[in-house]
């Protein structure tokens, strides 16, 4: 066990798992609040094109590490994609969903084509699609630290304003809040979160890490602040448990983390349903018990 704790690879994996598990649900809370839970999925598709473009640029520049520009490429493409999607949404363009579909599938197809054109293997592609946390370097760790801190500082620091805008945009506009700028903040935060989480769960599963902790948290909380806080705890628990299990079993970490989240959601949802059912039965029994003496008295 001590060997595992002192192993630099394990240390890097755990640091990244904690940071991503902590920050992804913060942004996920705003996306669920705005009923745009699938936005992360779409931006993830666009981010893959950025990864590939960075890869191709690295290949052309003759860099020693071909994928050195993959993360910067993903950040640029994801942010650009998020801004375009936000513009479409805020202007209420009728064909916005079709344009978004073109953007998403164009992104993933371009990504696959460019990675193969740059000489990338299927293994490289799979790493970006489904995550490859065991290959993170210390440089990757520092990038993740920077991105996660930015997400946490902005996402939590502006929580009240972002809540107001995502809860009721029309009211927020009437208060003078800079609604357009705050909407853009949510979109850019989503893009940055996807890039930061990409190494852990991959672009295809990143939305699961943003949304599942919020969905689980919602089952047991009533306030927005507590939902976000509990989702952060659940996110860390999902990531650390998932990565921890893969230290002992040869499983794909990204997929395992998301499956753990789905299992946890099912268990909590069933338990919450059971508790509500029992409470209703108890209340019903109490009402019947109170009513009985009167009935008996009347009968007598």
């Amino acid at each position: 066990m001590m060997d595992l704790i002192t192993d630099p690879i394990v240390q890097r994996m755990m640091i990244v798992a904690v940071l991503v598990g902590l920050s992804a649900p913060v942004v996920g809370t705003y996306l669920v609040q705005r009923r745009m839970a699938l936005l992360g999925d779409g931006i993830g598709h666009v981010a893959l094109a950025g990864v590939a473009a960075g890869w191709l640029a690295g290949s052309w520049a003759g860099l020693a590490e071909q994928d050195a520009l993959a993360i910067p490429g993903a950040v640029i493409f994801a942010v650009a994609g998020a801004v375009v999607i936000e513009r479409l949404r805020s202007r209420g363009i009728a064909a916005a969903d079709v344009i978004m579909a073109i953007l998403f599938y164009g992104g993933i197809a371009t990504g696959v084509l460019l990675i193969s054109a740059a000489g990338g293997s299927n293994a490289n592609l799979m790493g970006y699609l489904f995550g490859s946390i065991s290959t993170v370097s210390w440089a990757d760790v520092w990038v993740t630290v920077g991105l996660s801190l930015a997400i946490l500082v902005i996402g939590i620091g502006l929580r009240s304003a972002l809540f107001a805008v995502t809860h009721d945009q029309e009211f927020a506009q009437s208060t003078g809040l800079p609604v357009a700028a705050l909407n853009l903040v949510v979109a850019v935060l989503a893009a940055v979160t996807i890039t930061a989480s990409m190494r852990v769960v991959g672009v295809l599963l990143v939305s699961g890490l943003m949304i599942l902790p919020v969905a689980i948290s919602q089952l047991v909380t009533r306030s927005f602040t507590r939902t976000m806080t509990a989702a952060m705890v659940i996110g860390v628990a999902m990531c650390v448990t998932g990565v921890g299990i893969t230290l002992f079993h040869d499983l794909q970490p990204g997929a395992l983390i998301v499956v753990l989240g789905v299992v946890l959601y099912t268990v909590v949802a069933s338990s919450a349903g059971l508790v509500r059912h029992r409470r209703r039965q108890r209340d019903h029994a109490a009402i019947s018990h109170e009513a009985r003496p009167h009935t008996e008295g009347a009968a007598a």
């Binding site: 502006l158 009240s160 009721d168 009211f171 009437s174 003078g176 927005f224």
Partner: protein, 270 residues
């Protein structure tokens, strides 16, 4: 609870500057003009009802006033300023309830606290909880502060949204159909709270389908029909009319029948 006269001088003018002066307001939605040059005045201590049938442009007008929709023509001045955002801290807005709500649960107190934010206030003030509780208490729903707003009844939700506007201690209160789908006790609570605010000097603009319990609060009405003003002045009920053109439904329960068997609901005076 009859409406007291606002600060009106003998010649009919007001001694206080207007809260809202809108002239020839035009608004386009989806390529079509839905407001065709509408005028609106509201003064401090005065309640104005905007009335009319479905699709007459009532909500569009108040959304343009608060800056949620851009006007394609005309002018809107709020406390003398051309941009609603520069005086937003003095405005309390209650949108139609259908527009409120998100995918994550939020307590009534959190929703009311969000009313304390503004152009230069991106974070909640330290006393936001106490102020939110006072506003909820004013509407008689302080006991619901920790409840998820989505689980509340229509009337309770409406009270929470009005508390969110009142917590701003606004000089101009704009409400879009606050009585729609609201039970009678909630309507009474809203009428009491709004009357107190009007008497304290706030200007109130309220979109209504019918005057109902807010009738005694209202000084004058602006009636819209297909984006045009068809009447400005006494509220329809005060004129002995149940409704003016644009009012698209009848209320057999509301008006006593005339001796000849007719009701005011069908009488329209020029």
């Amino acid at each position: 609870m009859a409406a007291p006269e606002p600060d009106v001088l003998l010649d009919g003018s007001h001694d206080a500057p207007p809260a809202v002066t809108a002239r020839g307001v035009r608004v386009r939605l989806g390529g079509h003009e839905v407001l065709h040059g509408v005028d609106l005045d509201a003064f401090p201590g005065e309640a104005v009802a905007i009335m009319g049938g479905n699709g007459s442009g009532k909500s569009t007008l108040v959304r343009a006033v608060v800056g949620a929709l851009p006007a394609s023509g005309g002018s809107i001045e709020i406390f003398g300023a051309r941009r609603a955002r520069s005086v937003a801290s003095r405005i309390g807005y209650v949108p139609q309830r259908a527009s409120a709500g998100g995918g994550v649960t939020a307590t009534a107190r959190e929703v009311v606290q969000s009313g304390l934010l503004g152009a230069s206030q991106l974070r909640l003030p330290r006393d936001s909880k106490e102020r939110a509780m006072r506003a909820l208490d004013e509407l008689g729903v302080a006991d619901l502060a920790r409840r998820d707003v989505a689980s509340l009844s229509g009337g309770q939700q409406q009270r929470v949204l009005i508390a969110r506007a009142l917590v701003r201690e606004p000089d101009l209160l704009i409400l879009d159909e606050p009585m729609a789908g609201v039970d009678v006790p909630s309507q009474e609570a809203l009428a009491t709270a709004l009357t107190a605010r009007r008497d304290a000097g706030a200007s109130i603009i309220v979109v209504l389908h019918e005057l109902g319990l807010l009738g005694p609060l209202v000084h004058h009405a602006v009636v819209l029909d297909q984006g045009c003003v068809t009447h400005i002045g006494e509220p329809p009920r005060a004129l002995g009319l149940h409704a003016l053109p644009g009012h698209d439904h009848e209320h057999p329960h509301a008006d006593a029948a005339e001796p000849d068997g007719s009701t005011f609901a069908w009488e329209v005076r020029p």
